[in-house]
Subunit: 127 residues, 6 copies
């Protein structure tokens, strides 16, 4: 493991997905999933998100389109919240999901709008 890349990854992951999300992931680390947590933190968050060549906002926008198509609602919701943290506006989220509707089909789009609605509702209920 490259410790510096890992640390950078943990930092970015926390800034994008939120302290609560990462604290929860860390609390659940056990012998079974530890190597996976490290792999994802180092490579996904450190080695790729850590590259300066794209702003985080753009990376978040790409992720919404990609994870929506990949059909992973749990991850999609985490990244909708992350996108808002990275400065993607609700209007931009709508546009991304409308464009996804065209290229990946109506059911993918409808599911993405449902996920967004759930994330927005959860955030409004927070004190």
């Amino acid at each position: 493991m490259d410790k510096k890349t890992y640390d950078r990854g943990l930092e970015i992951r926390t800034e994008v997905l939120g302290k609560e999300y990462v604290a929860n992931a860390m609390r659940n680390v056990d012998d079974f999933n530890k190597p996976m947590q490290e792999l994802v933190t180092e490579y996904c968050w450190g080695a790729v998100w850590g590259r300066e060549e794209l702003p985080r906002k753009t990376r978040s926008m790409l992720n919404l389109a990609m994870i929506g198509i990949l059909n992973r609602p749990h991850e999609l919701k985490a990244h909708i919240a992350g996108a808002l943290r990275n400065g993607v506006t609700k209007d931009e989220i709508r546009e991304i999901f409308m464009q996804m509707t065209i290229y990946a089909g109506v059911p993918a789009g409808v599911d993405a709008f449902r996920a967004a609605r759930e994330v927005f509702a959860a955030q409004e209920q927070k004190p």
Copy 2:
């Protein structure tokens, strides 16, 4: 927007997915999802479902196979109910999902049968 195509789409969508489904969708329309609701109603339901070249029953049959493969259970259940409304019989639904099992694999088929069972059970519980 082409108002005539939109209106035709809203009419077909209501006939296929049911008044309740569409009323619920309309109640949830807000600034965020309004352009998406309009896009889907005009293009999916008006511009394509509105074409006369295929009977609605055939369109419903295609949708069951397609949405089953696309792995979108929420939409699949809405279209199983829609297929029954369009005259697709339970026996035909079984055949479609068995054929899907062969071409898209056993897990896709098993999930589609589970979705159908849930739709049938929900309908039997209605007064």
Copy 3:
């Protein structure tokens, strides 16, 4: 193996995909792929296509939508030719692929139209 189901499968496969296609497949049978050829012939063509509950034309229509989404151009072209044999008209093929465009996205639709054009062109060149 259930010999009767296999024989029925071979018969249907030949009627749908054409003598030439099946003869070619049979010529290529060797120790490596023989169990696969038998599996596909018995289960896909015998156990499922052999069921009477859906007419072959309907099965072909479903296959165009399914194989288009599954993104397998070689199989798609074989089944476009098979669909024509089973009485699906060119207009119906267009409608199926337009509906697929809406539900599975524009790139899937564009590729399906390209496959259809290639099949039609190949058939026009035959004496």
Copy 4:
């Protein structure tokens, strides 16, 4: 149907997925899904799992990777439990899902680890 292949399939299916799972599936058999249950038992469990050329442990390992990619959490959980029955260790399950993360992407991997955690937790709660 080939009765011998079906019987062999039912036996293997029971050994891999467990008596409880298969008893439950059998209890739910009705006119609608009976042909599907028979197809899956004969074709999937008899004609393929019944082949001696790969040990069951290897087949289970392949299934974890495949069903994880196919994004079918219900089936994935049944096959994680089945893999444990077939001698796949927890460490091996982790390795399979880490390799899947590389080839099919992080969201697929994260979802697979979540499914494994749920299966392990359910098993620990059993008396």
Copy 5:
């Protein structure tokens, strides 16, 4: 059809994919694919690309990630060329495909880099 949306779509499609691409598509229009050409031009290029809420450069970036995952090399290459026209730099294309590698897996990423290489090579050969 909404003539204004169609015309706007044709204009944008031409600006993004190039005069040559669209002229070629138009030359190939026949009775079979005319309704599809119109649907794609109006719905994809007019009703969605025509929305001002996202700059075209962003839409191109999203498309590279989406069409790469959707595994449609022909469309991907057209949109790599389109992205260059819309001001996406080669460095940005690399970053998008590296991020796609993490979220959708190494084979998807490797194929996208291959497509980019082909597009760049073709452009260098032009006078």
Copy 6:
């Protein structure tokens, strides 16, 4: 980058995919794809293939099933050749692809057999 993991990755990649394949990849390295080559070598081949918890033969078997489903023929062929290098027999390749046929559908299976045939034929033509 973790130099040790990268070097280990390059070694394994060469052993699995062959000197020719890796030499070719290295010859094509340029400013555009260098970061990608490094990411794949370190992350895929070093950090995951480099783990001792699964034998390489097992990793190759998993890859055949996964890449077959992911529908990436170019990568699939490279990994069929790699699997033979890692001791997977032709009979085992057949079994993997037959099991994939069941879980991912007939078109995925048929395409995988076609890829295997091409790899075998290319190898027989080598002096």
